[in-house]
Symmetry: C2
Subunit: 285 residues, 2 copies
């Protein structure tokens, strides 16, 4: 007892003496030290502390089955990309990773080669194909690629829209030559949900909520390190100021506009479309 | 773009360039730096990050009109007491402050001298009195003392119990000689709510959720610095290990047991009771 400004932090850390989980002890000790250092650093006032309590509470209240405001908070403060960077110090030559985001949904259907992940959605038809190889250039067959994205006109994920219809999602599998291919609508830039506490925080910080257009991809294959990343659309105006710090040059892909006519899947498109090509590289686990 | 483990923090801080509120900019810059330092320090894994997201979400979901789990989190990590210490570097000789806690409710009734803040509640009858003076020893009349505490048997605040009945709360005012007096039931040690995420965290950390018995007090008077503090019960087994780090020697008060007979308010008590005396000292604003 009798803890003061100087002794309180050590006292709080010392309370972990009975913690039998060494990793938890390490994490909580560090968290307490950094949290206290922050409070000391800015000399947080009581009313600012209470604003923080209310902000966290409201952030929690905005989380439900369809929305994860704490992931948005982590993303917009650069924490998610830092965790990503620390956890994916992958061998050079492998595909860069980026932020997972709050919109993944398990259980998307597996589609055939050139299957459509956004059937019936508004937007510019888009054909995406490429290969998955290992760091020696050998094709990886049977890799599963989870894909998810917004529609091509409003920039909303299925889980942001009322109703339980899944759209903008699918899984494709690489063939014996390591090739994958799918159809979709061209992704567009969109804002992260800005009508909650994180949106308010961004406005107060003088920041915009825009993310450059992208398709989420998650690659998994037995014996290889999984890769969670995006394919960004070259030329997007928000590439340099992505609200969640996720863009890497190597992930920016040319979505080439094509007139109506022969399409990459062998069909004949009656409307203009675009096509993109990207080759992934996975490292052995 | 192309931010990596080394460059991400500066990039996230630089996004505050458009922030027009210098204090918010200072706070958010420091928060981002300390949060990132924590993540780097422990090399937080992706699954640990996701556990943290789920923990914060659950903590938010446990907050409602009757419960403030984020304040519990702040209290149990020593953050609340640190904020208290930083904001109350009061002139020596004034009453020590301690944690505000999540259980204050505005609008408690003002009671007369020797009014009862816990009428009808189970517990040992208790008479508390004393004075409020300034640092020169001059009586302060008209100071308002907000009081709140649990019942004397179960250790629950009114807001933790179903229904909207207010109990264990009241305000008293010092008289012309700076004296205050109230009746209550003797406070008992209690556990902070341990059935939520903060309780789970404490168990995982090898910590107990107990707080030593106390009466909350908040003193306010025009021209003086407000004081938020507790009166702790001497001899309580949890004084040295208060779950929220709030105990100071100077706030530990002897609650003296008395047999049935004449009571401090001039009445005759038919049952045994206890009495306590405490003199507060306020500094000029």
């Amino acid at each position: 007892m009798n803890f003061n400004e100087q002794t309180l932090t050590d006292a709080a850390v010392a309370r972990l003496d009975g913690c039998t989980d060494p990793r938890l002890r390490e994490i909580m000790s560090s968290l307490i030290r950094h949290l206290h250092a922050f409070v000391r650093d800015v000399e947080l006032t009581e009313s600012e502390w209470f604003e923080a309590i209310k902000f966290l509470t409201e952030t929690g209240h905005r989380c439900d089955d369809k929305r994860q405001e704490f992931i948005l908070l982590s993303d917009t403060l650069g924490v998610s990309m830092l965790v990503d960077a620390i956890n994916h110090r992958n061998p050079s030559g492998t595909t860069d990773t980026t932020v997972f985001g709050p919109y993944f949904v398990a259980g998307a259907p597996e589609l055939p080669h050139w299957g459509h992940i956004a059937e019936g959605l508004p937007g510019t038809p888009c054909y995406v194909s490429g290969t998955v190889r290992d760091t020696n250039g050998q094709a990886i067959s049977g890799a599963i690629i989870d894909l998810w994205q917004t529609d091509g006109v409003e920039g909303l994920y299925d889980v942001q829209v009322a109703g339980d219809t899944m759209f903008g999602r699918g899984r494709v599998r690489t063939d014996a030559q390591g090739r994958y291919a799918f159809r979709t609508v061209k992704p567009i830039s969109y804002t992260i949900p800005a009508d909650g506490p994180v949106g308010r925080m961004l406005r107060m910080m003088g920041r915009h909520p825009w993310r450059p257009a992208h398709v989420h991809t998650m690659l998994q294959c037995e014996g290889y390190r999984s890769i969670t990343t995006h394919l960004f659309v070259k030329g997007d105006p928000w590439l340099k100021s992505d609200a969640v710090f996720g863009v890497k040059d190597s992930l920016v892909v040319d979505f080439v506009d094509r007139p109506a006519g022969p399409a990459p899947d062998g069909s004949l498109s009656e409307v203009a479309f675009c096509e993109a090509h990207y080759d992934f590289v996975m490292a052995r686990a």
